[in-house]
Structure formats: structure tokens, C-alpha cells
């Protein structure tokens, strides 16, 4: 069985960032690239932000994901600029919206993927503990975090089953592909989720004492570099608001 893309590998992670830095980067990506907040000067910086997930993915040796991202993003970014001038009518809007959506969503999705695939559950929990979040938030979030790889594994098995039944795009049951996928996926995930919670509870999750954590996380040089870069757009934004 191959390992799912979203499963954090324990060794071989290249540039190690603190989970908090990764969360900050993801947040920035959502605010400035997806949400295009911050005004003109910040928006001029977005290509720089969009390059970040590529660098990080490459450092984590996720070659294929990184290269696919770079190609898809460049094509849609360039496409957005070029197609606007050379096409008209329906095609114009179609291409523009496709490229626009891709260029806007892809960087955030990739950053999210990077966060999940390079952070183990316990590192993530440790990071949230250090941010002094309440356990009421930490536990559900870490369960979710643990759950992603499982959902993908289940989806892969269901996909295999569908192939053997001759259900595929272009086949005669193509219209029902979504329904066929969702129903078994829900059933399996609910079952696994239930067992997972039971196993965690019998080992004392959710007690009244504050959890400890043996994970060594902390800010290093690379974290400070990324954090400094991440602060730039906020500064520019504030300057913009004050009118300088």
C-alpha cells in the first residue's frame, strides 16, 4: 500500500519550520492571495507569496507536487494576463474565470497541503499548546488533523472498487459518480472516526489535567526569516491605511 500524500513522514522533511510559522504562512496566503486584501503595494508582492509553497514543497522533497504546482500556477497566472486581451465572448469569460480561480486558490491549497503533509499530529498539538489555546479547540483540531490521511486512504480504496465495477468518467454511470463515492466514504469515515475516538479516550484523552508534550518544537533561524517576510504585507497595509 502506498503512502498517502497527506501523511506526514517522520524523517526526510528538509527545511523544518515550526508549525506556528506554517500556520502564519497559511493565514497570510488566505488573506492576501485568496482574499486579495491590503491594497496595491501588497498585491504587487503576491507573486512572491505564491512562490513560497513551491520553495517549501521542494525543500520537503515533494518533487512531483511542487512541479505540478509551479506549472499549473504559472500557466493560469500568465493565462489570466494574456487571454484577457486575445479572446472575446463566452470563451473570454470562461478562460478568465478558470485561470482566475486557479491562480487565486491554488497557492492557499498548496500551503495547506504543505502544512498537513509535513507536520505530525503531536507537533501540531504541541504548537497549539504553546499558543495557549484551550483544549476544547485543540482536541477536535488534532483529531481532524489525524483524520485527513485516513479519509484519503479510504477514498483510494473506494476509487479502486469503482474502477472494478466499470464506473468511471465517460462510462454509463458517470452521472452518479459523486453519489457513489460519497456514500461509502461517509460510512467508512464515520466508523473509523468512532473507533479512533474510542481508542483515544481509553488512553485518557480529554482529562482535566493539562496535557504535556514531548515534541521538541521551537523557532529557529528559518522561522524568523519566514516570519519577517510574513510581516511585510501587514506593515504595507497599515502604511496604506494611514496614507503614507
Amino acid at each position: 500500500m502506498g503512502r498517502s500524500i497527506l501523511q506526514a513522514s517522520v524523517t526526510d522533511r528538509g527545511l523544518v519550520l515550526d508549525p506556528r510559522t506554517k500556520i502564519l504562512l497559511l493565514l497570510n496566503m488566505a488573506i492576501f492571495v485568496l482574499g486579495s486584501a491590503g491594497g496595491g503595494r501588497v498585491q504587487a508582492l503576491t507573486p512572491l507569496f505564491c512562490a513560497m509553497p513551491a520553495v517549501l514543497l521542494l525543500s520537503a522533497k515533494k518533487w512531483r507536487t511542487a512541479i505540478t504546482y509551479i506549472i499549473l500556477f504559472s500557466v493560469s497566472y500568465v493565462g489570466y494576463a494574456v487571454f484577457g486581451d486575445i479572446t472575446t465572448g463566452f470563451l473570454h469569460y470562461f478562460l478568465l474565470s478558470c485561470c482566475g480561480i486557479l491562480a487565486r486558490f491554488l497557492p492557499s491549497i498548496m500551503m495547506g497541503g504543505y502544512l498537513v503533509s509535513t507536520t505530525t499530529v503531536s507537533e501540531f498539538t504541541a504548537a497549539m499548546l504553546k499558543m495557549k489555546l484551550s483544549e476544547k479547540i485543540i482536541i477536535p483540531l488534532s483529531v481532524m488533523f489525524r483524520f485527513f490521511p485516513t479519509v484519503f486512504d479510504e477514498a483510494a480504496s473506494i476509487n479502486a472498487a469503482m474502477k472494478m465495477r466499470g464506473i468511471h468518467l465517460g462510462g454509463k454511470n458517470a452521472g452518479k459518480i459523486l453519489e457513489y463515492r460519497i456514500v461509502p466514504l461517509m460510512t467508512c469515515c464515520v466508523k473509523i472516526g468512532e473507533e479512533l475516538s474510542a481508542a483515544a479516550l481509553t488512553r485518557g484523552l480529554g482529562g482535566e489535567v493539562r496535557r504535556t508534550n514531548i515534541c521538541n518544537i521551537g523557532f529557529k533561524v528559518q522561522d524568523f526569516i519566514f516570519i519577517t517576510v510574513s510581516i511585510v504585507p501587514y506593515v504595507l497595509w497599515i502604511l496604506d491605511i494611514v496614507g503614507i
Binding site: 490521511p149 465495477r165 454511470n173 474510542a198 481508542a199 479516550l201 485518557g204 484523552l205
Partner: protein, 468 residues
């Protein structure tokens, strides 16, 4: 000491109670085997002891359970967790972390122990259980036996006095069972009280002191292991139990009359440049039932995936009825009944389900196939509402109607009791001489009941291929 006092329990949405008025006392240091048919109340009893009932699985409960002085029924789960450790059957769903070290630390972290304490406990557990070499690894890359060791280790690290194991061998091969046996023996020597609910009995012969059999939610018998050993296999079967001595398994094969040959050519496959399967040529009689055995990770599942045409990069072929089938055609001719059959049931009724992907010419046969597989009464039911065996048969029915020639079963009897294992064996036997069947399994009793050939794969190559 564990005291279960007049306990009855009914699950929230169930019509009938799962156990009725059970009273049981288990002294310190005793090792108890809980056996009985599926649904007879074994698992319910284990959940009473670890507190999952009534705190997690809700329902109507009477009576109370006291474990080493702690009232489990009233205490919160994290209090119980300090006294009672639990190991479950499914390796996929009992790990909370992705890497082994954090997993061992997980329970201790929940207790809020200081970091230094946790590290010294981990050291102690890894030394005791001989799992130092597994530390710092990705759990999802370990074999089934190693996963179960980590599960045991993470419970051990909490240092509970009572251990509860719910069908811990369901997903394990024979070697892994031996390893689990060693772990349980160590726990026993250190004086822990152990309760094991299990269908596979033979590995517990020398471990358990006492055997409790449940039936319909009541205790059917409660005897010492010595007395239990003196029962005959027939008596044990009558209680729905599997043989206590694996070597006594019933041998029924006979009347296999295939002469046609199915040839597998060039069955080799690599993941990330590492060769995991290498079978240049293999001839298999059409209509036989081939048990595919071998250790976890030996290449069985890759073999199955290649044969079903699920691996795109797979270049091998199958020669069947003079036709050479490549990956794409194999996808049409082969069908795998997965271990978790829930993955392959898509429709709203059984009738729709079996007709999905059906060869149109077979429209007239639907009723007949449903009858043959004992499903005619369930045609309008939702497949997800069926029992495990009925789901399995639904999957088979759909394969028959889609004119699949080769059927693969992945661990069809894992976690099944005697009666259901026997049913599956009969079902497989009924396919003999009609379809070519491959069964990937660790279950020696299933093999001895229905398989005509054994194919053993080790390290990706054929270790042995024999007819029985």
C-alpha cells in the same frame, strides 16, 4: 479485582439488550479468555471494563462495574484509563499519532506527566518489549504485527493494572500472533489482570487460566482452561467456537475437476524502484480456489492489485481461454471482494447494487443469482443495512452478474466466529469449478475447509505453489 455486578446493557438504537444480568468476578493477576459467537456480548463486556460503556457507547445500563476499587461505571474515562489499558482489533483506527514515539507518549501526555517521566517510561517499555528499533518511524509503514506491538506498548506506557484486548489478532499473520503472545505473556508475568475477547483460540491455550463463553448476552459457561481443553472440538463448535488446536482443522477439499489452465505472465511490480513482486510465470487451473498466503508485506496485496488491473504501470498479462488480458481487460474480468466490503457497495438497494455494471445479457439471471446467494429476501434493502456476510454475498452477486471470471477475496474471514467462517468457506466452495478464486488469507481453518491450491508468496516471489 474486577467485579461486574448484575449488569444489563441495551444500545441506544437496539431493540434487544446486548447483555442481560451478567455477574462476574475476576481476581487480580488472572488471564481470562472471553469467547462466543459474534454479537454474543463479548465486546460489550470488554467495553464495560474499560468504561467505553456507558461513557462513550450510550444506552440503557443497569448494575455497576468496579475495577481495582474504581467504580468504572461512574468515573470519567480518563480516570479509568490509569487503571485499565485497551488494545483493539483494527490497526487503522487505534493510533492517534503518525509516528511511533509520539504514539507511545500519547497516553502519558494525556495524564499530564512531566516530559522526563514520559521519556523514561518510553525507554522502559521499548526495552521490555524489544521495540527500540521501531522508534521514530511512521506507523503507517509498519507491518500489522509491528503496529499491534506499538498499540500494546502505548498502553503499557500508562502502566495500568488491567489489560483489555478486543479481538487483537483479527488482522495479524501467524508470526505476528506469536509476537503478540509473547507480549501478553510478559504482562501476565508482571502480574497484570488480562481479559481477551477473541475468536482465534489456539494462541491462548497456554496463556489463559479461565475461559468464559457468552451466548445471547448471557454467560453460557465459565470454566478453567484445563476443563475447556478437555472438551471435544465438536462441543466447542456447538458453542460457535473455533478449534483450540489449529492442526485439528477439518479437511474438506475433493472433487476439483479443472483441466483448463490460466497463465499469469510477467507478474512483476515495483514501488519507488523497489521490486515488491516478481513472478515470471505461473499456471493455475481454471475453477480452482487458490489460497494466497505469506507474511504481511510479502507482496500479497500487490499481487491482488496487479491481477485486478488496478496498477496502471503493471505490464504483466493473464492468458485465459486463449485470450491475452492486459491491465485494462483484467479490470473487466477480475473482481476483488475487499476486506472492508463497505468500500464497494454504492447503491440504495441490493437489487440496484447487483445490477450496477451488469452485463445486459444477464438481466434474466438476477433473480436466480440472488436466490443462489440467499439474498432474495433482501432485494429491496439498503446494502449498508445488511450484516457482514450478506454484504460479502452482495459483492459476489454483483461480480457474477458482471461476468467476472476471476474473483479475489482479501481476508474474507478476519474477525469472524466459527459459524460465519464456515459460511464463508461454503460460499467459496460453491464457486469452485465456476470461477477461478484467489483468497488472500491468514486463516488456516478457512484454507483447510475450501481451498484447492496454496500459493505462498514471500519477499515478492513464489515460495511454494501446491495443490491440496
Amino acid at each position: 479485582m474486577i467485579e461486574i455486578k448484575n449488569v444489563s446493557f441495551r444500545h441506544e438504537n437496539a431493540d434487544e439488550g446486548s447483555i442481560h444480568d451478567i455477574t462476574l468476578t475476576i481476581p487480580d493477576g488472572q488471564c481470562v479468555l472471553l469467547c462466543g459467537e459474534s454479537g454474543s456480548g463479548k465486546t460489550t463486556i470488554t467495553r464495560l471494563i474499560n468504561g467505553l460503556i456507558p461513557h462513550y457507547y450510550e444506552g440503557e445500563m443497569h448494575g455497576e462495574v468496579i475495577a481495582n476499587g474504581l467504580n468504572v461505571t461512574k468515573s470519567e474515562l480518563y480516570e479509568t484509563a490509569k487503571k485499565v489499558g485497551s488494545v483493539f482489533q483494527n490497526p487503522r483506527s487505534q493510533f492517534f499519532c503518525v509516528d511511533t514515539t509520539s504514539e507511545l507518549a500519547f497516553g502519558c501526555e494525556n495524564m499530564g506527566l512531566p516530559e522526563a517521566d514520559i521519556l523514561s517510561r518510553i525507554d522502559k517499555v521499548t526495552a521490555e518489549m524489544n521495540i527500540k528499533s521501531l522508534m521514530g518511524q511512521n506507523i503507517f509503514e509498519l507491518s500489522g504485527g509491528e503496529k499491534q506491538k506499538i498499540a500494546c506498548g502505548s498502553v503499557s506506557a500508562l502502566q495500568p493494572e488491567i489489560m483489555v484486548l478486543d479481538e487483537p489478532t483479527s488482522n495479524l499473520d501467524l508470526n505476528a500472533i506469536e509476537e503478540l503472545k509473547e507480549t501478553v505473556q510478559k504482562w501476565k508475568q508482571s502480574g497484570k489482570t488480562i481479559i481477551i475477547a477473541e475468536h482465534r483460540l489456539y494462541w491462548l491455550r497456554e496463556i489463559c487460566d479461565r475461559v468464559i463463553c457468552t451466548q445471547n448476552g448471557r454467560i453460557e459457561f465459565d470454566m478453567t482452561m484445563e476443563e475447556f481443553k478437555s472438551l471435544s472440538d465438536e462441543e466447542r463448535n456447538a458453542y460457535g467456537l473455533r478449534p483450540l488446536f489449529a492442526e485439528n482443522a477439518v479437511q474438506t477439499v475433493g472433487n476439483f475437476s479443472g483441466t483448463d489452465i490460466l497463465t499469469l505472465n510477467n507478474f512483476s511490480f515495483s514501488y519507488d524502484k523497489k521490486e515488491v513482486l516478481n513472478i515470471p510465470k505461473l499456471e493455475i487451473p481454471v475453477g480452482s480456489i487458490v489460497a494466497v498466503t505469506g507474511h504481511n508485506g510479502a507482496g500479497k496485496s500487490t499481487f491482488s492489485r496487479c491481477l485486478c488491473g488496478l496498477e496502471k504501470r503493471f505490464k504483466g498479462t493473464v492468458l485465459l481461454n486463449g485470450e491475452t488480458l492486459k491491465s485494462r481487460q483484467l479490470l473487466k474480468k477480475c473482481y476483488m471482494v475487499m476486506q472492508d466490503v463497505n468500500h464497494q457497495l454504492f447503491c440504495e438497494t441490493v437489487e440496484e447494487e447487483v445490477q450496477l455494471g451488469m452485463n445486459e445479457e444477464n438481466a434474466g439471471k438476477v433473480q436466480k443469482i440472488l436466490e443462489e446467494l440467499d439474498l432474495d429476501g433482501f432485494a429491496q434493502r439498503h446494502p449498508m443495512s445488511l450484516s457482514g456476510g450478506q454484504k460479502q454475498r452482495t459483492a459476489i452477486a454483483s461480480a457474477m452478474l458482471a461476468d467476472k471470471e476471476i474473483l479475489l477475496f482479501d481476508e474474507p474471514t478476519s474477525g469472524l466466529d466459527f459459524k460465519h467462517m464456515e459460511q464463508t468457506a461454503k460460499l467459496l466452495s460453491s464457486l469452485k469449478n465456476k470461477k477461478t478464486v484467489f483468497v488472500a488469507t491468514h486463516d488456516p481453518e478457512l484454507i483447510s475447509r475450501c481451498c484447492t491450491h496454496i500459493l505462498r508468496i514471500e519477499n515478492g516471489v513464489i515460495d511454494e505453489f501446491t495443490s491440496r
